[in-house]
Symmetry: C2
Subunit: 212 residues, 2 copies
Amino acid sequence: MPDQQSTLRAHRRAETQRAIQAHAVRLFTERGYDGTTVNDVAEAAGVSPMTVYRHFPTKEDLVLIDQHAQLVADRIAASPATQPLVRRIGGALIESTTTVTGGHGGGDLSTSGQFLLARLRLMISTPALRAKHLDNNYALQQAIVTALGDDTTDPDAAFHAHAAASACLAAMHTALVRWAEDDGRSELPDLIARALTAAFGDDAVQVRSDAR
Amino acid sequence: MPDQQSTLRAHRRAETQRAIQAHAVRLFTERGYDGTTVNDVAEAAGVSPMTVYRHFPTKEDLVLIDQHAQLVADRIAASPATQPLVRRIGGALIESTTTVTGGHGGGDLSTSGQFLLARLRLMISTPALRAKHLDNNYALQQAIVTALGDDTTDPDAAFHAHAAASACLAAMHTALVRWAEDDGRSELPDLIARALTAAFGDDAVQVRSDAR
DNA sequence: TACCAATCTGGTAGTGACTACCACTGAGGT
DNA sequence: ACCTCAGTGGTAGTCACTACCAGATTGGTA
């Protein structure tokens, strides 16, 4: 069965994709996003401009592509439906972020953490990237509402879910900005929890083990 | 003094700007945003493509430009600093929206209301417009935090303000989407109030005179 | 082993948004 | 009447992105 149908092919594809993205983020950081053409990225990665477009539909996706959304949606669907919306969503955001950043202990970041930080800085400072990233967050909001699984027939319930999800994601974005300003020195999950608390009040976030 | 320095000139400038935008929104609605070129808009408005770019820096701005942000910032600055953040911000959003939509009584919309609705529909359905609109909301968030006037030296206070502002704006955006889905039949200020309540709880929105 | 099919890659020639750079016109104030 | 300058238009160019087509490599098959 074609599950891992051609490991070699898939692996090579993933590898060139990773290489292109790495060169892109490096060049964007060095020369600026607008000061770097897609041709520059292709040349640096040793491929043709065509190949870049095959792996990344747009120039923005060279920075923005990740699989965070799927992670969050899965956590949402797995959360107990008895809790209030904001807590379900906020909890999923915090947990999935913990997975991504890895439970490193406060100090310096791993290589992947530095890469994430570089991408985040570009997202925040470059208007085109920031705009598309916010739109991706909007798509994530739709996914979250779907994953909540509450009855979609009641328009009021759907409205409630959308309002809660959008507000939670906005708070998370605020935490991401703060994290980038701190150069990743703080614990991102803690920052998200604090942002949620700041927006919704103390009862919005579940009591945690308080590892601070 | 050059306050109203050349009424005729300023008036003509504002008039062509308005005409270009009207034709743009009409064409985008008829043929789709991506299916309409800036040249098409220029031709329909009877000006050269150059002139369009003089008045609107980007194609997206043909739909997005408005002065809502200034209205909100003014209201924020005028709000009493004693109230909680979410209430100050939410109140300003509701009040400024009431100003924009005009206190019409439930039924059909004025011409300007229809125009606003058409623009909003484009913003929601067109990815490029949606992304830039969300980024404009992000800029508004910065403006709101500044207008709050709380001491900017304390990073924690600033973080709190950003989290609250972003969450409020997200809730408002949810209300805007719902309003567009209702074809503007509901009262937008009421929808915003409901979205804020859905996200933050009953105590987030001030009790209103209930003019319904 | 020879063959087929699908995928990966590269090239060419566009379209369309947007940006210099320059020239013309007409309104406002002296 | 003259000067200034904002407003407008034209040309040529850059760059993101998209068909359309062609060669190469890999995986499975007769």
